[in-house]
Symmetry: D2
Amino acid sequence: MFSSNAVVKRLGTLRVVGPDGVGLLAASTQVLNHHGCNILKSEQWTDTRENICFQRVSFHYNGVANDLMDLHRKTPTLKALWDWRDRRKKIGILVSKYDHCLWELLLRHKARELDADISVVISNHETLRPVAETFGIPYHVISPTKVSATETSSILPHHEVQQLELLKDVDVVILARYMQVLSSEFLKQFPKDGIINIHHSFLPAFLGGSPHRQAHERGVKLIGATAHFTTEVLDDGPIIEQDVINCSHRDSVQQLVKKGRVLERNVLLKAIEAHLDDRIIVHGNRCVVFGD
Amino acid sequence: MFSSNAVVKRLGTLRVVGPDGVGLLAASTQVLNHHGCNILKSEQWTDTRENICFQRVSFHYNGVANDLMDLHRKTPTLKALWDWRDRRKKIGILVSKYDHCLWELLLRHKARELDADISVVISNHETLRPVAETFGIPYHVISPTKVSATETSSILPHHEVQQLELLKDVDVVILARYMQVLSSEFLKQFPKDGIINIHHSFLPAFLGGSPHRQAHERGVKLIGATAHFTTEVLDDGPIIEQDVINCSHRDSVQQLVKKGRVLERNVLLKAIEAHLDDRIIVHGNRCVVFGD
Amino acid sequence: MFSSNAVVKRLGTLRVVGPDGVGLLAASTQVLNHHGCNILKSEQWTDTRENICFQRVSFHYNGVANDLMDLHRKTPTLKALWDWRDRRKKIGILVSKYDHCLWELLLRHKARELDADISVVISNHETLRPVAETFGIPYHVISPTKVSATETSSILPHHEVQQLELLKDVDVVILARYMQVLSSEFLKQFPKDGIINIHHSFLPAFLGGSPHRQAHERGVKLIGATAHFTTEVLDDGPIIEQDVINCSHRDSVQQLVKKGRVLERNVLLKAIEAHLDDRIIVHGNRCVVFGD
Amino acid sequence: MFSSNAVVKRLGTLRVVGPDGVGLLAASTQVLNHHGCNILKSEQWTDTRENICFQRVSFHYNGVANDLMDLHRKTPTLKALWDWRDRRKKIGILVSKYDHCLWELLLRHKARELDADISVVISNHETLRPVAETFGIPYHVISPTKVSATETSSILPHHEVQQLELLKDVDVVILARYMQVLSSEFLKQFPKDGIINIHHSFLPAFLGGSPHRQAHERGVKLIGATAHFTTEVLDDGPIIEQDVINCSHRDSVQQLVKKGRVLERNVLLKAIEAHLDDRIIVHGNRCVVFGD
C-alpha cells in the first residue's frame, strides 16, 4: 500500500473520538511524528458537557509502517479512523425525476472539484438517463417492487437487493432528491455515515412531503435546505449542513420550489465535500464537522 | 385635522385589500390625485391563486378633504386603511427579565430611529426597571395573578385588567421576550396586528420553551429568530420577519442563547419598523410585507 | 400583434421614468384601466433627492389598441418603456474558457426557468463547444484580430464585425466570463442596458484582472461577485446584483476561485432574470431594480 | 502566578507561528502534556505556499512550572505566545460622536459577554459622556492639538501624550468610530495587534471618509463593515472580520448610514471577541483567525 518513493507526498487523515483526558492530542501527534508524518491541519474540540474529545488531523506521509494503525492499541478507549487518500472514494447516486442535484454532482465531478469517482446513478425512472449519459456515467433503472404483506420487515425487497448489488463497492450513497423510502434492512447495510440525503426544508421544520407547500401555508420569510445522514426515522438523521434563502409573500409554491433548487444543490455539495474530506464525525444524532 | 398651511408636507399611507379587478389601482390613485396628493411610493401585488389584490401607497398631502376617506364608499368590496403620520404612534412594551430587546428598542427610540413614542414598559419583574429609567420611560411591575378554577375563561385575570389600563392608548404592544402567556380575553382586546412577539427560533421549528436547547439537541447548523403577530395559538401567528445565524457543534446551549440575542433584537426591530411604517397587511395567517 | 381572442391573457410590462409630479401614477394606471388591462403588480418609487419618479407595472391585456403607446404623448416629459411578453426575448452569450456560467445559463434555459431563447454562443476559443452542443445551441468561434496602429478607434475590429452579425437579432448580450475587452464602437451598437457582465469581485473592490488574487493578498474575509451593465469604463457600469460568500485565511487563491464560481453563476442568473422580467431601469450609473 | 490548588481549573492559550516541519504540533502538545495540561481545543493550519505553520491550543492548567515557557528555547525558530486567563484583559475605547459602537461594547460588557474590563473611554468630544457614565466607566475628553510646522513627525502631539498616559495599562485599544487620525509615533507605542478599528465599508472598497456616500454614488447592492488592526496606512491594516447587508436603489445615504450601524457594532464585537479569546495571529498584512 505504501510505496518506497519518498518524493510522492500522500495525504492521510486521522479522526479520533474518545473520552477526554490529558495527553490525547499528544498521543496521536506523537504517533504521526514518530512515523515522519508532517501535519498539515489539525483541529480538536472537547465537548465539556459529555467530556468527549473529537480530533481530526490531516498529514502528509510516505512509507508509513502498518503500526501506524496501532494508535487504537495504545489507547484502547479511543476510536480512531484512518483515511488514506491514495484511493479515491466511490460515490453511488440515487435519483428520481428532479435533475438539479444530479447535474450539480456530475458537473463538479467533471470539473475535478469532487475528490471522488461517481460509480453509478440509480433511479426509479428513465427520466434522467440522458443527464448521466452526457457524462458517461452508468445509469440503471430499478423499479420499486411491492412488498407482500406476508414478508417480514427484515427481508430486503427485491429492488433493494438489486440496488445493493450495484452499490456494493461504493463508499457513500447520495440521495440526490430520491423520492422513495429506503427499508430498515437496506439502511442496516451501511454505516451511520454511509448515506447522505438532501431535504428541501430547514429541518426540523416541515418534515416529510411537500415542505415548500407547508412553508407557503405557514407564511415563512425564509426557506431552507438540509443535508443529513439518513437514519430509519424520516428526516431525522444527523445534520451536516443547512442554509436558507429569503422569500416573501409574493413567492408562490412553485417559486419557492425554484428558489429551493439553488439552495439544495449548494447545501448537498458542501455536505459531500465535508464527507469526502473526512471532516465529519457522527456522534449520537449530531455531526461534528471540522473546518475546511 | 388638516391645516391649511400648504408648505408643510405631511406623509400619509393607504393600504388596500380586496378582490382583484380591472381598475383597482386606478381607483385609489385617482382619489389621491383628485385631492392633490403626491405619491411617493406605491406597491401592488395580486395573489393570483386567491385573486386578491394588496396595495400600499405612501403620499404627501395637505388639506385633504374628508371625502378622501370615501374610497371605501366608491368600491365597497375593498378594505382600505388610511394612516396619517402627523400623529406619532404609541408603543407599549411587555418584558420579563431578558434585557437585550428592551435595550435595542429604547436605544433606537432615543436615536430617533423609531418613528413612534414608547409610552410604557410593563413587566412581571423588577429586574429591568433601571433600563427603562435610564431613558425616562415609565416602568410598571404587574405580577400575574392565579386564575381560580371557578373563573370562566372569558374573564380577564386581574393582572391583565391592570395591563390593559396601562395599554389603553397604545397603538401596538411589543412582547420583547415577555415570558407569560396572554389570555384569550386579553388578545381579543387588540386587532390582529396589535401585538408583536419575538420568538427565539426559526418558526415553525422549535415551538414553545427552550428552543435553543431543542436546537442544540437536534444538532442544527443554523439558529433563527421570528417576529410574528400574536394569536391565541402559541407561536403560530402571522410571521413578519425571520433571520438565521450560523452555529456549529462547538456551540453550547448557552452560546446559542448568546448568538440568538443579536438575532432577536435585529429581527424584532425590522418587524416593528415595518409595522410603524404601515407596510404590513395581515391576510389569513400570512403577512404581506411591502418593501421599505 | 394583438389577437382578438379574449381568453388568452397576455403579460405586458410598463416602465416609466420622469420628473415627479402629482398624478403620474394615476396617468399610467388610467391608460391601462381605460384599455381593460388588469394590473398584476406595480411598484413606484420617487427619488426625492433628484425628484425623479420610477415606476413599473405588469399587467394582463388582450386587444389593446395602439394608442396604449401614447402615454408618452399625453405626458411628454415621461420616458415610457412598453414590453409585450408574447415575443420571447433572445439572448446571445459570449464566453472564453470558464464554463460554470455557461452551464448555468444553458441548464436554466433547458429547465424553462429562463423566460428567453438562447440564440447563439460566441467564443474566442473552441473549449466550450461541447457544452453548447449538449443543448443544441449554435456555437461560433471568432478569434480576436489585432488592430493595426493606423486604424482609428472609431472603426470596429474585424472580429467584432463578425460578432455583431451573429448578435444582430439579440435583445441582450451576456458576457458569461468573456475575457476580451470590447471596443467602444462595439458598445455603441447596444443600448445602455444591452450587455450584462459578471465580474468576480465585490465591485468597486478589486477592479480588473485576478480579483481573487488581489482578495487573497488583501486578506479579506468575504469574496464577492457583481453583475453589471457594461460601459466603456472597465468594471464601472451600473450594478444590477451583488453577493458575497465567507472565506478565511485557509483559502488559497485557487479555493477562492472555486468558491467564487458558485457565487458568480447565482449573481449572474439573478441579474438576467431581473432584466428578462423588465424589472430594471438604468438611471445615470445606477440601476433601479424592482422586486420580483 | 500558579497556585497549588488543584481544584481550580485555569484557562490558558498557546499560539505558535513558525516554519513548518515534522513534529511541530507534537512538540507543543508534548510540553503541555508533560505539565499535566488538558487540551480543550486546538487548531493548526499550515500555509503550504509560504511553508509556515500556525497553531492555537487552549488548555486547562494548574501548577504549571515556569519551564512551560521554554517551548521557545527548545524550538528557537518558533514564535510562541502564551496567554493566561486568570488575568482579565483591559480595554481602552476611543470614540468621537457616534454612539452605536460604544453602547454595544458597554452593554456586552455589562452583560458579562465580554471577557475583559473596560478601563477608560477617551473622546475628542463631550457628547458621549452620559453613555459612559450610565455604566460607571471613566470618560475623558482630550481635544486634538494642532501640530506646529516646526515639530518633526517623530514627536507625539500633546493630546496623544495624554491619551497614552490614560491607555498605559490597557491591553487593546478599540477605535469605536473614532474620527481622528492617529500619528505614526502613537501607533509605534502599540504592538501590531494592539489597536482595532471599525471601518464602515467592505474594505478595500470605499477607503477614507464618507464610504456610505461613495457606496450610494456607485449604486452598490450591498454595504459592508470591516474590523481591522490599525497601521500607519489609512484603512489598510490586517482584516479581522467583515460582513455585509443588502441595500437597494431606495436607500438614501442616510438610510445606508442607519443600516450600517447595525453591521458595524456586530462586526466590531466579533473582532474584539476573537482578539480577547487569543484567536488571532497577525502574519504580514493578513490575520489568521482561529474558530470560536
